[in-house]
């Protein structure tokens, strides 16, 4: 069974503070992804990575940075957190295969920025 874990599971931050969300996967997948989930918007891709050392901008990258130091770990960094970044964040991993390759999601991190 694919395994993606996220930490912390819940986070309260102050406006202007720095927030780091961490993700670890034991699937040995090359690709990893960060999404945010908001009611009325669904899942939106923030950043993704093809492998260690690579990061790519997704559809809504503004205000976020990403870091992929190893195959297993992928972090999402909010340098200056704002209340508009209050959301649930999901990390996912996936194999770089064509066609049917699915993405496996972590349990999510609920971030509240006050």
């Amino acid at each position: 069974e694919a395994a993606v874990t996220q930490s912390p599971r819940n986070k309260v931050a102050v406006t202007g503070g720095k927030v780091t969300l961490s993700c670890n996967q034991t699937n040995n997948h090359n690709n990893m992804y960060w999404y945010r989930q908001d009611t009325g918007h669904g899942l939106r891709l923030i950043h993704y990575s093809y492998g260690a050392g690579s990061t790519e901008k997704g559809d809504i990258p503004d205000g976020y940075k990403a870091s992929r130091p190893s195959q297993e770990n992928f972090s999402l960094i909010l340098e200056l957190a704002t209340p508009s970044q209050t959301s649930v964040y999901f990390c996912a991993s996936g194999a770089p295969l064509r066609g049917y390759a699915e993405q496996f999601f972590g349990p999510g991190t609920r971030l509240t920025v006050l």
């Binding site: 993606v4 090359n30 690709n31 009325g40 918007h41 669904g42 899942l43 939106r44 891709l45 993704y48 093809y50 997704g58 999901f90 996936g94 194999a95 770089p96 295969l97 064509r98 066609g99 049917y100 390759a101 699915e102 993405q103 496996f104 999601f105 972590g106 349990p107 999510g108």
Partner: protein, 116 residues
């Protein structure tokens, strides 16, 4: 760019009745794959079913969907819903445009509420 449209934000159905969740898409590419993900309350999204073959019915856990490229649709259906089917359902598109890109484009999701 690519887009996925789920027209219903909320669908309420009585237990035992059929349901169809709509999904249409726009893309300039012909080599595509489609997915339905289901997310139960306070859980992560997980794959329900997938397809990349035009006009072929795909089934899983009592749900089925058929990709119709002629109408750009991949609707999700079930003939008899159960209370346990209450969840958020996402339709997603993957374009196979070469390289190792494996991005999914998600719709906004449809919440299915099954009542007794």
């Amino acid at each position: 760019g690519d887009s996925v449209t789920q027209t219903e934000g909320l669908v309420t159905v009585t237990e035992g009745l059929p349901v169809m969740l709509n999904c249409t898409y726009q893309t300039a590419y012909s080599d595509v794959a489609f997915f339905w993900y289901v997310q139960y309350l306070n859980e992560a999204p997980k794959l329900l079913l997938r397809s990349s073959t035009d006009n072929k019915r795909t089934e899983h856990q009592g749900f089925h969907a058929t990709l119709h490229k002629s109408s750009s649709s991949f609707h999700l259906q079930k003939s008899s819903v159960q209370l346990s089917d209450s969840a958020l359902y996402y339709c997603a598109l993957r374009v196979n445009s070469g390289g190792s890109n494996a991005k999914l484009t998600f719709g906004k999701g449809t919440k299915l509420s099954v009542k007794s």
